[in-house]
Symmetry: C2
């Protein structure tokens, strides 16, 4: 049986998880993957009390890992700039690279893929995008014969956990706290709940499926912090729930790329995906629509993805993954303000005659159609919520409309969520 | 760029679909797969008016395809015994085999995998199991580092189409007719609606995940023909829908293997999967629970799976897929009668005093607990449906209990469906 010699850089949770998973399932890996994975050296700035690496050689300078006689560097140090430097050094020393680092792929993917191609080595990164959901190999291998036209889904487990708890009646703040207690959310949760994590992931997937650049052009990103618990019950009444969606979609010869909360139909396959889960829907020409869903990243999921990359490395005989595609056939990213959505508006107004008339007149003057407008039960303080569903209109008119609605005499507060077309 | 020389055996819908897909997406295949797929010869007993093979060499005796200088035989003749012979001849002539034929893999898998291993060639069969859902490579590659503990799901698109239409209020017979008109069901639909298609698929998946034999030991298979439209509304009232489920599941050191209709919770991820779709849930040790769903087999989905097999063949450097695992670590298949289920019973009874008492007394005498028993609205002819949900009890007692319930004085008809535990 062949052997793949591995150097691990980094010795935190993910690295020790990989170390333990290779130990635990080594028979299985040999049986299924036909390869003996050996960890020859670990680059660890310091020991990790949670894992004893046994007799494995330790380097305190992670860059020294590359000097060893290894086939592949597994980059698990995190961050962006040092990770980039490390990967570049590994590649130019003709080592393959496996990484779980989505930020470095998002920001420097094109540069790194090009360099890898020039040096005849591979970069694999299954665990960098939804580690519990093997979306990278699905796109690159199983769907290789398909033209993909759309990828959409919930790519951030923390946001999905928070929103699906809010769907059950919990408040945002207490659910975020719960997510932090359970280790699903970081002490500083901004990266997850402001949408950047999902944005990084859809950027990488878009590069794989549609050849967009890494880093991508700027695209629209919005997090879940403005969603209120009551939005769920109003949405439910109309057959919707609320999810944080990331979307990359061919729109004639350009590409929609966006990540934001959206109302989605309750009977869609993604609506039932609750908790710390990631789920995607992929539209293709040959195979139609595929769904895939898995748990958000954890230590063991990440290890699973890293190992599948290592097995893949040992079983493929040449550099057929042309990750760097240059500018050929590239889809330009559409200006978000040109997209068209239906909108859900929550309007908090004084409970007095004429409010509905003033809202509908304003909508008419803006030439935005109304699909439905419903006044809900008074909230107290003679204040009523009005739920307005618009016909589709252009994103560029949205901010202005929202501002003018808020300027109406009797309107006290307003918020809006896009509705994802079926 | 390397070339893979292909001989296609069979020239029906699937074969012409493959021919057209390779033609249509050849640039994409070269870009994503790094291989030029050339169809060098086609074994066609007769021409197919739907597809002109151009200058491709035709052999009227499909066995003559193997004599050509090709790398791989794509077996698309269907059936079992001739297909087996053809595959054996291809293997012993050192040709790889790609097939979409689930029957031949189910009935002769172990023999063929062993022979392939001895001859240093591969058999790939992504399209043989749920062609629109790349479950084979998912299990063999992406989850290679994982211990799988359970695979369950809807593996037959026709059954799922019929059941999800019945959920919306349609009758069985008219929906079956509709499925036939749309080409989802065969003129003789028995193979699909009696559960054998799903049984073949779960048998193959169980072999991949748990090393069970091909052909497998006998296991429990039941189709969807006894389900009535009204069962859906009664199930819905209790938070369930009805799906045809195939399950392979580790139960201590043996294996549950079964395919039958089941009530599943409406909030489960599989419940929302409607129409001609296949969907699976896979439980693993590292990565947790994965869901994957795709369209049922069609000409193009099948082509997509075949092409992904061909790309995989050209990119892997050795026979690492040990499909034939011998008897090592094999899980014996559990006797179905030892399994324990909750049951849904639909009992049609005369609307007179004492009926509920006689049912509940019988249940008590059998020591089967009752979770709920509800008398529904009269059907006319002084006949009432009674919906009984039992506590879990042993499958071996089920037939006898059903018989005795039917023997009760006032009971006119009865049917039952297993409830799948969450």
């Amino acid at each position: 049986m062949k052997t793949l010699k591995i150097g691990i850089c980094g010795w935190g949770n993910v690295a020790t998880g990989l170390f333990k998973a290779i130990e635990k399932n080594s028979n299985l890996i040999q049986l299924n993957g036909g390869v003996n994975l050996t960890i020859d050296v670990i680059g660890a700035r310091r020991d990790n009390p949670k894992c004893n690496p046994g007799k494995t050689k330790i380097e305190r300078d992670i860059f020294d890992v590359i000097k060893h006689d290894i086939d592949v560097v597994v980059e698990l140090i995190g961050g962006v700039e040092v990770a980039r430097e490390l990967i570049i050094k590994a590649i130019t020393n003709k080592k393959h690279v496996v990484t779980a680092n989505k930020a470095v792929i998002f920001h420097h993917g094109d540069e790194l893929f090009k360099l890898a191609q020039e040096n005849g080595v591979k970069i694999l990164f299954e665990s960098a995008v939804c580690a519990g959901t093997p979306i990278i190999k699905l796109l690159k291998e199983e769907l290789a014969a398909n033209k993909v036209s759309k990828i959409s889904g919930m790519l951030n487990g923390t946001s999905n956990f928070i929103l699906s708890n809010m769907e059950e009646g919990a408040e945002f703040d207490s659910t975020l706290k719960l997510a932090q207690d359970k280790g699903y959310a970081e002490p500083d949760p901004a990266f997850d709940i402001e949408g950047m994590d999902a944005a990084h992931k859809i950027g990488i997937l878009s590069s794989l499926a549609f050849g967009t650049s890494l880093p991508p052009e700027d695209f629209f990103v919005e997090g879940i912090t403005k969603i209120q618990k009551s939005d769920f019950s109003y949405a439910m009444d109309m057959g919707y729930t609320i999810k944080h969606l990331a979307v990359a979609k061919i729109n004639e010869s350009s590409l929609e790329l966006r990540a934001h909360p959206a109302l989605i139909s309750l009977d869609s396959h993604l609506a039932n995906l609750k908790g710390v889960r990631n789920g995607m829907e992929i539209d293709t020409d040959l195979i139609g629509k595929i769904h895939i869903a898995g748990s958000g990243a954890g230590q063991e999921s990440t290890a699973s993805g890293l190992i599948s990359d290592l097995i893949h490395l040992s079983n493929t005989n040449e550099i057929s993954d042309q990750l760097y595609k240059g500018d050929e056939g590239k889809y330009p990213v559409l200006d978000f303000s040109n997209l068209v959505f239906q909108y859900y508006f929550y309007i908090e107004a004084e409970d007095k005659p004429g409010v509905m008339a003033s809202i509908t007149s304003l909508m008419a003057s803006k030439e935005v159609g109304i699909e439905s407008i419903v006044q809900k039960e008074e909230l107290g303080d003679s204040c009523v919520p009005i739920i307005l569903i618009t016909d589709p209109f252009k994103e560029s008119d949205h901010a202005e409309l929202q501002k003018e609605l808020l300027n109406l005499d009797s309107v006290r507060a307003i918020r809006s969520i896009r509705i994802e077309a079926k």
